[in-house]
């Protein structure tokens, strides 16, 4: 469906309507909601109520006991998550979080204010679980769980990218993403989930990567990369897969294998590993670092996918694990993996075989972020870099939400970047690092049918890019996230044309001076490098 033109989209009214929010209902307008999961994906993941249905239908074919199921699930979550329980009780509705959400900024819909998104659930908590709420009803901000409430939840809980920007500004750290995850879990219980989240999760579970490419086809794709790299550099590399006894298992989001521009980032990793002679392996079975199961809010799904990484590390007998550029993968690896699927006591504390650096911060989980690893290499002068091979590039860096507010990874990628590009400019302070704005497409919302909301939600990010483009002539937006690589390009094309989106290791790959390489005249994208054109030959 066509997304309205930017100037149309910009007619945003941030004033709330006359009608109070308990009296309004969402309209399922194309462009603002994601399609429901196909039954087969629900079945593969062994979840609830698989069926064909559409959000625009009157009847959502919920199971007969939908209400009991949700309420029972809710009670269960309140016992399992102190976060949820405390957050249900202590919001003072100060509104500090209200204008922090990119979806509110870009849509003006009051229910996209994090506080109100949370109230959608909190009102039910009061109405169903507290005495005051049951007696006073609306006067206590309480309401009953009705069929319409389920529909409203579906609409707004799948309009949150779980970016946690709101939680940064809340005086009590109330994390609407945490509430959103709980809300999605409750929706799962009655079979209301979206396909773009469930299908990748099902594929990762069953096949090993999110598109569901079978192992032998994946092998062919890797062979292509090897050929491309040889064409570009004259260096023939090997990509070890399923190699028992390697020192390191490398896991990256599978988007890097098959979607431009992630593929260039993937080539960057391969070139780097070859150049430093890393003894590593990858796996077709655990070929996915990303974790769409996490987005479902049903933590079992996150575990089903994440556990494959340790299982494979154990089977292959590696010493530690290296992880590629991905946003939510790192939220899961950093904050969940060890708890969920550890302890990884069969692995060793990660130690760079090149520099000898011991990654103390990964002492227990045994998994290191690629930019931590590369930053250490650069600091020790272990690789030779020639930034002039990125000539013409003026780069900025998009901090992905998850590594920012769920990990604190800020300096490592910047350090790497500054060493491989000739010019680097940060976006305005209030839009980067911990205050970074979401791409608008995270948490399973990077589907085409949701495009209008994605462009709205991405407005604040795009606008900050526009600022550095207009001011410094920035033309490259780099990031360390596979979803970002896929979604930021359409976003900037829409709001700030003339910007190229790249991964950090794509730029590393360009700058990396390899032993025995030929003179490079084009970059990994086969585009001519300014100042390095072929000397002789064609005009």
């Amino acid at each position: 469906m066509a997304v309205p033109k930017p100037n149309e989209l910009l007619k945003i009214d941030h004033k709330p309507p006359k009608k109070w929010w308990m009296d309004t209902k969402p309209t399922f307008r194309p462009g603002t909601y994601s399609y429901p999961s196909k039954p087969k994906n629900i079945e593969i993941l062994d979840m609830w109520n698989p069926r064909e249905w559409s959000p625009t239908d009157e009847d959502w074919k919920l199971p007969e006991d939908w209400k009991e199921r949700i309420l029972e699930g809710f009670r269960d979550l309140l016992k399992k998550y102190r976060s949820l329980k405390v957050f249900m009780d202590i919001c003072v509705r100060c509104g500090a979080c209200a204008d922090k959400c990119h979806f509110f900024i870009g849509s003006g819909d009051p229910k996209n204010m994090p506080v109100l998104r949370a109230e959608l659930m909190r009102s039910v908590y009061r109405g169903e679980f507290t005495k005051a709420g049951q007696i006073l009803g609306r006067w206590a901000g309480a309401r009953e769980l009705t069929y319409d409430v389920v529909k409203e939840w579906f609409y707004y809980f799948y309009q949150c990218t779980q970016c946690r920007r709101c939680s940064l500004f809340c005086p009590y750290g109330i994390d609407t993403a945490e509430i959103d995850l709980a809300g999605r879990h409750l929706l799962n219980l009655v079979g209301c989930n979206i396909n773009w989240m469930m299908e990748p999760a099902a594929n990762c579970y069953k096949v090993g990567n999110h598109i569901g490419i079978q192992p032998h086809s994946l092998k062919d794709m890797i062979d292509f990369f090897v050929e491309d790299i040889e064409d570009l550099t004259g260096v023939k590399i090997e990509v070890p897969f399923m190699k028992k006894g390697a020192e390191v298992l490398f896991v990256t989001p599978s988007g890097d294998f098959f979607a431009d521009p992630g593929t260039y980032t993937f080539m960057g990793y391969l070139m780097l590993f070859h150049e430093i002679g890393l003894d590593y392996t990858m796996s077709y079975y655990a070929a996915e670092g990303g974790n769409f199961g996490f987005f479902t809010g049903t933590i079992e799904n996150a575990k089903k996918l994440n556990a494959k990484i340790y299982a494979e590390a154990k089977r292959l007998g590696v010493k530690w694990i290296l992880g590629g550029e991905c946003g939510h993968m790192w939220r899961v690896v950093h904050q969940y993996m060890d708890t969920l699927t550890g302890p990884a006591d069969f692995l060793e504390v990660p130690k760079s075989p090149i520099t000898g650096t011991v990654f103390e911060n990964a002492r227990s989980t045994k998994m290191v972020h690629i930019t931590e690893f590369t930053a250490d290499l650069i600091k020790h002068g272990a690789i030779k870099l020639d930034p002039s091979r990125n000539a013409g590039i003026k780069a900025t860096f998009h901090d992905s939400c998850n590594p920012s507010r769920g990990m604190g990874l800020f300096e490592e990628p910047r350090y790497v970047l500054k060493n491989v590009v000739p010019e680097f400019y940060d976006m305005p302070e209030d839009t980067i690092r911990e205050k970074t704005f979401c791409c608008g497409s995270g948490s399973g919302l990077n589907n085409d049918e949701f495009m209008e909301m994605r462009m709205r939600g991405g407005l604040p990010r795009a606008n900050a890019v526009k600022y550095v483009r207009d001011r410094y002539g920035v033309n490259t937006l780099s990031c360390v996230c596979a979803i970002d690589r896929a979604v930021l390009q359409p976003l900037v094309n829409y709001w700030v044309p003339g910007i190229t989106v790249t991964g950090v290791h794509e730029l590393v790959g360009n700058a990396l001076v390899m032993k025995g390489e030929k003179k490079r005249t084009v970059n990994l994208r086969q585009e001519p490098i300014p100042g390095m054109e072929e000397e002789e030959g064609d005009v």
Binding site: V86, G208, F241, Y284, F359, S364, E372, E412, T431, E434
Partner: protein, 327 residues
């Protein structure tokens, strides 16, 4: 309606106390109700906190607001991204005493172009600071009435506070702060359209209640002379569990006291519990040392994994044909 109703409610409460005074129920309003309110407050508060504590903390989910501790040469943001318990305590300290997160507040404005402009905004932070510190000082002042002899620090606070003297008897800086704070918080709630939209009765009610308490307190101090000796006798009686009901205390005191009792009794059932909850918020009170120190989930879920062996069975032919090892 969401604004007017709680206002009526507070006026009604004040009237109740006045009627009680008029028909000589001083014993009820001066002794029984305060004891009851104190009991509800203490028990309610504890029950709530225990209730929270009973829920598990399955994952370590701090919201990181600064550079993680990673490579030794990268500067670690110790407070914003705490690695040790000591650093977490520092983070909590700044959060609880200086409202760190509110201080961070920025306001975005969408202008034509389009361009989104951001700038710091400190109004909410300032109102909140005035309100809470005013409140704290006022409570400390009141300890004067409940102690004998008055401890040195309280007496000192009295002196400092009264230094910013306006008129006589001196208007305490603290009550002024509290009054301005409560009015500012109320005004932003009704004047900012988004905040008005999200506000509930439960948000206005405590504001009116506290406003009523401050106003009745100030009236008593500056306009309607109250027998302070008798008041002290009553309060001392309460805290030493030898309650007495001295003669000659005016209605205004009973109104003040009753509103205070209502606030205390209401506290555990309301959002005012944020006072306890802020300490228990998992996004703030946990260290960002996730990959270094394992956190244990008491209910860690068991799941059925699609194992390597099952996977190999799914693709055996294709794997073998492509020369991918299957052992």
């Amino acid at each position: 309606m969401r604004v007017v109703m709680p206002l009526f409610l507070v006026v009604g409460l004040a009237l109740t106390a006045w009627v009680g005074w008029a028909i000589h129920l001083q014993g009820l309003f001066g002794v029984l109700v305060p004891y009851l309110a104190a009991l509800i407050f203490v028990v309610g508060f504890c029950v709530k906190v225990v209730d929270w504590a009973k829920s598990a903390v399955p994952f370590k989910i701090p919201t990181t607001a600064g550079q993680q501790k990673s490579l030794p040469w990268i500067k670690h943001a110790k407070i914003e991204s705490p690695f040790t318990t000591g650093q977490v305590i520092l983070r909590m300290f700044f959060e609880v005493f200086f409202f760190r997160s509110l201080f961070r507040n920025v306001k975005g404005e969408l202008r034509s172009g389009p361009s989104l402009i951001y700038g710091p905004t400190k109004w909410l932070w300032l109102s909140a600071i005035m309100f809470h510190y005013g409140f704290l000082m006022v409570i400390l002042h009141h300890l004067r009435l409940a102690t004998y002899p008055v401890p040195g620090p309280i007496a000192l606070l009295d002196k400092i506070d009264a230094m910013f003297q306006i008129g006589a008897p001196p208007i305490y800086l603290s009550s002024l702060l509290l009054l301005i704070g409560v009015v500012a918080l109320f005004l932003r709630r009704v004047l900012i359209p988004q905040v008005r939209y999200i506000s509930l009765v439960n948000d206005y009610f405590p504001l009116f209640l506290i406003f009523g308490i401050v106003v009745s307190g100030m009236l008593m101090r500056y306009f309607v002379r109250t027998d302070i000796v008798a008041v002290k006798a009553l309060v001392m009686g309460l805290v030493t569990f030898h309650p007495v009901v001295p003669e000659g205390i005016g209605a205004i005191f009973y109104i003040h006291l009753f509103l205070v009792c209502c606030l205390f009794a209401y506290f555990p059932f309301s959002k005012l519990m944020h006072m306890g909850g802020v300490f228990m918020s998992p996004t703030r009170n946990l260290p960002n040392n996730n990959r270094a120190v394992r956190h244990v989930n008491p209910w860690n879920p068991k799941v059925k994994l699609h194992t390597y062996e099952e996977w190999v069975e799914d693709y055996r032919d294709k794997l073998e044909e492509a020369g991918i090892p299957t052992d």
